[in-house]
Amino acid sequence: MQKKVELQASERAEIGKGLAKVRSQGFIPAVVYGKGLKPLSLSVSGKEFHKVISGAAGSNVIITLKVSGGQNLPVLTHEIQRNPITDELLHIDFHQINMDELIRAKVHVILKGEPVGVKEDAGILVHSLRELEVKCLPGDIPDHFEVDIKGLRINDAVHVSDIKPPKGVEFLTPGQDVIVTVAPPAKEEEVAAVAAPEAVAGAPVPEGGVPGATVPGAAAAPAKGGEAPPSGAKGAPEKAPKEAKK
């Protein structure tokens, strides 16, 4: 169940290039919007916001935004922009919520245990869905979903439909979507490449097949047809330019 936290925010007049100044002072530019609410440009303390989202529920925490004007707004973080290189927080979108209205949220999936297929058969654990989209009241958003994967063997999978949602929570992610699967061990390509020529050499040569280096008769064929010895082939490109001049 959700824990409510408070976050101090102040209204912001700086926009565009002026935001660099806001960031240099340790604040993060933010915006809050919602049904019937005129979007408000804000700035929040970077340190305080880090504390808020570092909890178990991550960004699915109901925050009471205390805006400097005296407003108290219940919000959820809708989007967090980061610099991909430095991981620095660039901007936050807060979405004002009504505690009595159903909302959509994304909840993390946590895997528990090591599958038998990985332990004994060297399978590869592929965790393809890390978040599930749910529809519920803001107070009912789960912190995370735990999936027990100890019993999974190779080619076994856990689908969204295999998870039982808590009361009041509905999955919006399709039930047939795979959350986690154990793939069979991949074969190394070099092994396959070496095996292929051996298989060809051992097999009977087809009648209409292209003569290759392994067929004894094929090596003699060019010598019979051509009058010049093999070294003559090297001289051929030298003659060609002279002919062209004529």
Binding site: L125, H127, A183, A186
Partner: protein, 136 residues
């Protein structure tokens, strides 16, 4: 084998100035570990393939590898020992334009130690500085 276009609408393409950081493709989507670009660059098909081979060869039978970049920009080159003039060179291959922050490769199903070592070997084959990122 790394993918590249079979045919293109136009044979040659003008080079554009690339700047900024990657706003897409900068998050791990499939695997637990990834190789992230730290600079702008053009990565050729053979460099991607070379890095992929180094990675899969190191991982042997373990792990799953995803290549997150596609070399879809044709580049041209002039023949050796040719004087200037005579128009633009012929297309010789394709490269992928990469911005800082882009995830180039992802792997799953391996230990952290193996991931660091394998992705380190793959990084040797690439023309830009990179780093290993993880979802854990």
């Amino acid at each position: 084998m790394v993918l590249q276009p079979r045919k293109t609408k136009f044979r040659k393409r003008q080079r554009r100035r690339t700047r900024g950081v990657a706003s897409r493709g900068n998050v791990l989507q499939f695997g637990e570990f990834g190789l992230q670009a730290l600079a702008l660059g053009a990565i050729k098909v053979n460099q991607i393939e070379s890095a992929r081979k180094a990675l899969t060869h190191f991982l042997k039978r373990g792990g799953k590898v995803w290549v997150r970049i596609l070399a879809d920009r044709p580049y041209t080159s002039r023949p050796a020992e040719t004087r200037m003039g005579g128009g633009k060179g012929d297309p010789v291959g394709f490269h992928a334009a990469v911005k800082p922050g882009h995830i180039l490769f992802e792997i799953a199903g391996v230990s952290r130690k193996d991931a660091m070592e394998g992705l380190g070997l793959a990084a040797f084959k690439l023309p830009i500085p990179t780093r290993v990122v993880s979802s854990r």
